[in-house]
């Protein structure tokens, strides 16, 4: 049975239904059913190329929209849906309403479409839907600053989206097709491309930078993460990471192996170094836990894109693997921030001494913190090691050096936050207050699953790496620069 379209369509349909139900008593029931079903679809769909809305292949060119499904995309979509399900489970313990659930599902559907799609215009449509969903999720926290952050995000999102479409238009004018595979075949076989192709490449980099939070859009993204509810910030940064991976893969599929693309790879590496260093420096300065985590999310985007932008098969594997690891531990950290801010506050100068109040949660947050700093035996260590190795093999030892320094900065700021939240002495009467505040079981359940995944992928990284390797070799082998 062919269930692939349901990966995209089912969340969108449920989003419409749940939006209309709003505060009906069936919302919780429908949410539970939805989160179970979206986990199953990626696992049971069959690998292959799918054609929709057209006549399949006509005269060697694809007409209509095509989706490609392979093991790498299966892992990416499954992890995306898993994080989405855990966020939905957490939201069951909060004041849930249909609109928030609908926005999460809208984001899940559109980001999985960006991952699966082999058609540039389809990517653009879902890119805009994802932007609206993310702005809506930020505004759902209801504070004044959240509205401001969401509005800024929408304005810049419309701008970047229009520029991306401008680029897609230029590519269409230069090649006459929107299908990514066909476009690559055309570009690989012509002598010298028209100037429009260069413009299209530039506009695609702008769209990618906005979608993922690379500079110059890093402050907008960090603002969005810090103003959203912490458990929603987890899913927001998951969307950004997967949009980044999907868009860079699309760029490699179109331009891979062409001589002028090497310059763009250099630009991407430069942007990612800036994101890494800026993110960690800003994180060291923050006194608010949510803001600290938001800037770390920016810093981690740099890691993912540096691996992918290297363009060697090992680099692509490292980039995708780090992206997957990163969404796991970062969502765990944001969930931890959610629990901490429920118990006390997210202002690091006002809290302290939470370790005796919730030792198990503290241990799980520590695991996630060690994972993000790249300490063995957690998953962050495995992917950072692969990233360093790929940079060394690509003959760029200075990149490895920067990665290690940024890692040290990450470790310092994370341990500072851990001390201030859990270990700093605190008056006894305040501890009694903290003990009386109940934490929902749902969020602790999600945090446990994510911590277990951190340890599992840290001990057995081959589960993911071996699955991605053939795909990365396929894309990376096109990159032999003549």
């Amino acid at each position: 049975m062919n269930l692939l379209p349901l990966i995209v369509v089912f969340p969108l349909i449920m989003a419409i239904i749940l939006n209309y139900l709003y505060k009906n008593r069936f919302v919780k029931l429908l949410t539970v059913i939805t989160l179970l079903l979206i986990l199953i679809f990626p696992l049971v769909s069959i690998y292959g190329t799918y054609y929709f809305a057209g006549h399949g292949i006509v005269d060697g060119f694809v007409s209509g929209i095509s989706y490609i499904y392979n093991p790498t995309k299966m892992i990416m979509v499954f992890i995306l849906m898993l994080i989405g399900s855990l966020t939905l489970i957490t939201s069951l313990g909060e004041k849930i309403n249909g609109l928030t659930v609908a926005l999460i599902l809208l984001g899940l559907g559109s980001v999985s479409a960006i991952v699966l799609s082999d058609d540039l215009f389809n990517v653009y449509v879902f890119y805009e839907i994802a932007a609206v969903a993310q702005a809506g999720l930020v505004m759902s926290s209801g504070t004044e600053n959240a509205y401001k952050a969401g509005f800024k995000y929408l304005i810049i999102g419309t701008l970047a989206g229009s520029l991306l479409l401008f680029g897609i238009g230029l590519l269409l004018a230069g090649t006459g097709t929107l299908n990514i595979t066909d476009m690559h075949h055309y570009l690989a076989n012509i002598e010298s491309p028209s100037y429009g192709i260069y413009g299209g490449l530039l506009m695609m980099i702008i769209g990618l930078a906005y979608g993922s939070g690379l500079p110059p859009f890093h402050t907008v993204k960090a603002n969005v993460y810090s103003e959203a509810e912490p458990y929603l910030a987890g899913i927001l940064q998951t969307f950004s990471k997967f949009v980044l991976i999907a868009m860079i893969i699309i760029m490699f599929k179109i331009f891979g192996g062409l001589s002028y693309f090497a310059t763009s790879q250099g630009v991407l590496i430069g942007l990612s170094i800036f994101a890494m260093v800026f993110g960690v420096v800003m994180a060291l300065l923050q006194s608010d836990y949510k803001k600290l985590l938001s800037y770390h999310a920016i810093s981690q985007v740099g890691y993912v894109s540096v691996g992918l932008a290297l363009g060697t098969p090992l680099g692509i594997v490292a980039g995708i693997f780090h992206g997957i690891n990163n969404v796991i531990y970062k969502t765990a950290l944001f969930l931890g921030a959610h629990i901490v801010s429920k118990k006390a506050s997210s202002d690091l100068s006002k809290i302290g001494g939470l370790l005796p109040v919730m030792p198990v949660v503290a241990f799980m947050i520590l695991c996630a913190k060690l994972a993000i700093s790249g300490v063995p035996p957690f998953n962050g260590f495995q992917s950072k090691l692969l990233l360093a190795e790929s940079a060394m093999k690509a003959n760029m030892p200075e990149l490895t050096l920067i990665m290690i320094i940024v890692s040290i900065g990450t470790f310092v700021s994370m341990m500072k936050a851990f001390y201030l939240i859990f270990l700093k002495p605190c008056p006894d009467e305040r501890l009694e207050e903290y003990k009386n505040i109940k934490i929902s079981k749902y969020s602790i359940f999600s945090l446990t699953i994510l911590t277990l995944l951190c340890i599992l992928l840290g001990l057995y990284p081959d589960i993911v790496v071996n699955t991605i390797m053939p795909f990365a070799k396929d894309i990376g082998s096109q990159l032999v620069i003549k």
Binding site: L154, S162, L172, A173
Partner: protein, 119 residues
């Protein structure tokens, strides 16, 4: 002169004018109008890609033979894209305008330097 070239240049001018408006005009309604101008510039670019001098509407009529039709029809793909993009642009416009109503009720001004100031 070549009509296609002129419309490419005009669409580029639209985008540049819109970018100026988004970055330098201190009024959220005017910013939103500028975004709309950028969107229209992009639509103009897309529609002029499919332009063909003296071409047909890409609908096959029984009275036109297939060879003549294929030789003379305009490229239909960009027209479909523009239609989709107009819908997306309208919905984005609606969301942003409704948000600016909320901001105006709160601040009693439309200046973006006041409304979007960081605390």
């Amino acid at each position: 002169m070549d009509i296609q070239l002129i419309s490419f240049v005009v669409s580029g001018l639209f985008v540049i004018m819109g970018l100026y408006g988004v970055f330098f005009i201190d009024n959220i309604i005017k910013k939103i109008i500028s975004l709309s101008i950028i969107g229209n510039g992009v639509n103009l670019l897309l529609i002029s890609i499919g332009y063909k001098s003296g071409g047909f509407v890409p609908i096959k009529l029984p009275s036109v033979s297939m060879d003549v039709f294929i030789g003379n029809m305009a490229y239909p793909l960009p027209q479909a894209l523009v239609l989709t993009n107009i819908v997306i642009g309208a919905s984005m416009l609606a969301i942003m305008l409704s948000l600016s109503i909320v901001f105006y009720k709160k601040y009693r001004t439309l200046k973006s330097s006041v409304i979007l100031k960081d605390d």
